[in-house]
Symmetry: C2
Subunit: 423 residues, 2 copies
């Protein structure tokens, strides 16, 4: 029965029961972590053959290029072909970097800040004010990048089809609005795939700022854990068709395909942007780790082969997501204090409690030894106006721990709800 329909006495009883359960957990001294979207050990072990695919000097050659030596700032050519295959763009549009797409995103914005972009009238550090669109709930590390440069973060509501485009189209008319974060496929944390209409309206935006950046973080481009691969349009050609070719920077990585700490990341952009980026980056980098790039080419081969590997990840991930959803449903299904997403890909489940319960729930979780992503983290400045959204990351713990952690979590959420209802 929904909590709000309970009588005063029933509420008291339920509170006492849940409180006792909580105290039971608290004395257990658990230490469980669902804070970040880290792949689990089983996934890491599954892909660790990648460590030895390059074993001898002659393995390290890509055409005429010796990947072991200096040079080739844009990355090993075959690795650019691989990412172009995965993203559906052209190899000339791809720059393959180091182990982290986050760093490429930071650096791209940093270059706009220190040097400007092709259509900038000046470097952004010389602008009075810069504003940035942040669909929320969204990815905390995105928001922190733009916050760290002092941009004003504007929260864009998320709908089931992606960011609220009426809102976005209105806001980009302001010249100070210089860019926008997106995670278009299996959005972090809600697991939404942007609708065709949303994608088309994004590609067709008419921002007042000539150097507006659509940051297209395609982090989960081939990351289905349930069902077949969902084809996804190439944003570069869509933008180009709308006369917006230089507006978009796309990002991807193998962090959740091979090894999260030792993968390969890329950005893709128009050839005008590419020429500009290379001219600026040329002072920063001789080349990224091409041996690791080539290692990935030999291991992943092409998109079709990478998709086969993703099926194996799915076989490990799907039961974890199912476990979380089952426990949520079992423990909270009828209480009407919370709703949650049912993604088919990505790394997260997004959960919205009744307003005002998120922080308290996670404080209780911490007390019971379960670490979750901080409440508020999915909103700009870490401030969720409703204190409602919680991001659940089921990938790291083994199923046994996950069951325990989720049971604790549900207990804490119930307790938080009951505390409020009793007052």
């Amino acid at each position: 029965m929904p909590y709000r329909d309970l009588s005063c006495n029933e509420l008291k009883k339920e509170y006492q029961k849940v409180k006792a359960e909580f105290e039971g957990w608290r004395t257990k001294g658990l230490s469980l972590n669902m804070a970040r979207g880290k792949p689990g050990k089983e996934q890491l072990d599954m892909v660790s053959d990648i460590l030895t695919v390059l074993a001898k000097p002659e393995d390290c050659v890509d055409g005429t290029l010796d990947a072991r030596n200096y040079g080739e700032i844009r990355g090993v050519p075959s690795s650019r072909v691989l990412f172009a295959d995965i993203l559906g763009c052209r190899p000339e549009q791809v720059f393959v970097g180091g182990n982290a797409s986050l760093q490429l995103m930071y650096d791209t914005i940093a270059k706009a800040y220190t040097h400007g972009l092709p259509h900038s009238s000046r470097p952004w550090c010389k602008e009075e004010k810069i504003k940035w669109l942040c669909p929320a709930p969204g990815y905390d590390r995105h928001f922190r990048i733009t916050e760290s440069f002092g941009f004003e973060l504007i929260t864009v509501p998320m709908k089931e089809t992606g960011p609220d485009m009426d809102f976005v189209e209105k806001l980009v008319a302001e010249p100070a609005v210089k860019g926008m974060w997106t995670v278009p496929k299996y959005s972090n944390p809600e697991g939404i795939i942007y609708s065709k209409e949303t994608i088309h309206r994004l590609a067709a935006l008419k921002p007042a700022a000539p150097d507006f950046m659509l940051m297209w973080d395609n982090a989960y481009c081939i990351h289905e854990f349930e069902g077949e691969y969902v084809p996804f349009p190439d944003i570069l050609s869509l933008c180009e068709a709308e006369g917006n070719g230089d507006m978009v920077f796309e990002f991807a990585s193998t962090s959740k395909i091979t090894l999260p700490g030792a993968g390969v990341a890329c950005f893709a952009c128009s050839e005008t942007n590419m020429a500009h980026m290379i001219s600026v980056m040329d002072a920063q980098v001789i080349s990224f780790d091409k041996v690791n790039q080539l290692r990935h080419v030999k291991y992943l081969k092409n998109k079709a082969h990478a998709l086969e590997l993703m099926k194996k990840h799915a076989a490990i991930l799907a039961p974890k997501f199912q476990t979380v959803l089952q426990i949520l449903s079992r423990e909270l299904g009828n209480l009407e204090i919370v709703s949650w997403s049912h993604p088919k890909g990505g790394y997260f489940i997004s959960l919205n409690t009744a307003p005002g319960l998120a922080k308290r729930t996670l404080t209780l979780c911490r007390q019971a030894g379960v670490t979750m992503t901080d409440a508020g983290a999915t909103f700009p400045y870490g401030q969720d106006p409703q204190d409602s959204n919680i991001r659940i990351a089921p990938s790291l713990p083994p199923i046994g721990e996950l069951e325990q952690a989720m049971t604790v979590f549900c207990c804490c959420l119930k307790l938080a709800a009951l505390e409020t209802l009793r007052n």
Copy 2:
């Protein structure tokens, strides 16, 4: 006999002889490259065992840390111990990053530019004017970093003991002078080891700028190719002893120890600077490639073991340097149109022609199919006021090619000198 002592007739004859020799080379259609300090294939092959030192999941653990997953921004702890051992500082002072120290240098200055350093009153992008000290001849990529941020580059003359310290001490009294490049051991390109007095005066500098950066690029810290390892003081403790602990950032990498394109780089600094850098970098990076860091720990083990490996590099490099020096001596020894350095470590030989010959010599080289580092590259803005300095990088070509390239080079330098003397 020195060229300047030749009679008019002798000069004409010599010119005709050298010109004929040059034309002979030109028709050969050579394609030889001594432009950059790239290790040769023999060196790469020698260290390629590093590719397989991590082969299985259990190899990827450092203490309790799984190097394959996200996290640990400062790098795998054992890799920080390794670099501290090599540099003579403490592991807490070491940050281990990706494959390129150049990128860490760029990023450190970029952070000063976008966010400021602990003692900055504002980010450097908000300053009217920034000036930077560039000992020259020096490393072109250093100069380009600071040029790319719009700093005014000030040339500091190099002496046999290192940068002209009277000059440096005078210049740092100006608050706009915010930093200085150094390559203190086997300087690029001259191969000088800074004297004890120079190092002490650098550590004891009293810059007017409270956020002055001494960029200590210890690129060749264990890179002797002749004779025994030369111990070198820890600049961090020297600066600290002078009350300048936060003034210095030291850099090093394994680019010329293991694989140039796939090594590991670090910076070392005071704990105040480290805390600041991590707080700013935390928005940029989750972690660098820790698998490659651990790979390096397993392969290099410690300083003593790394020094043994450097002896093997030396056995490959020394004959190349000897070849260059022998041909220079044989072809140019008595002409008094040029002098050159005799380094015992590092990657370069620095050559000073009579004024006005460097550009012409390298133009002739290019015509004869030999690519060298551009004339002027060793000076700020690529402008050598004397048009005299040429950097020779003997490491890449096999000995046979090196002999040919150097013979061509000497022919071109003679021809350039004779052209001038005949006018």
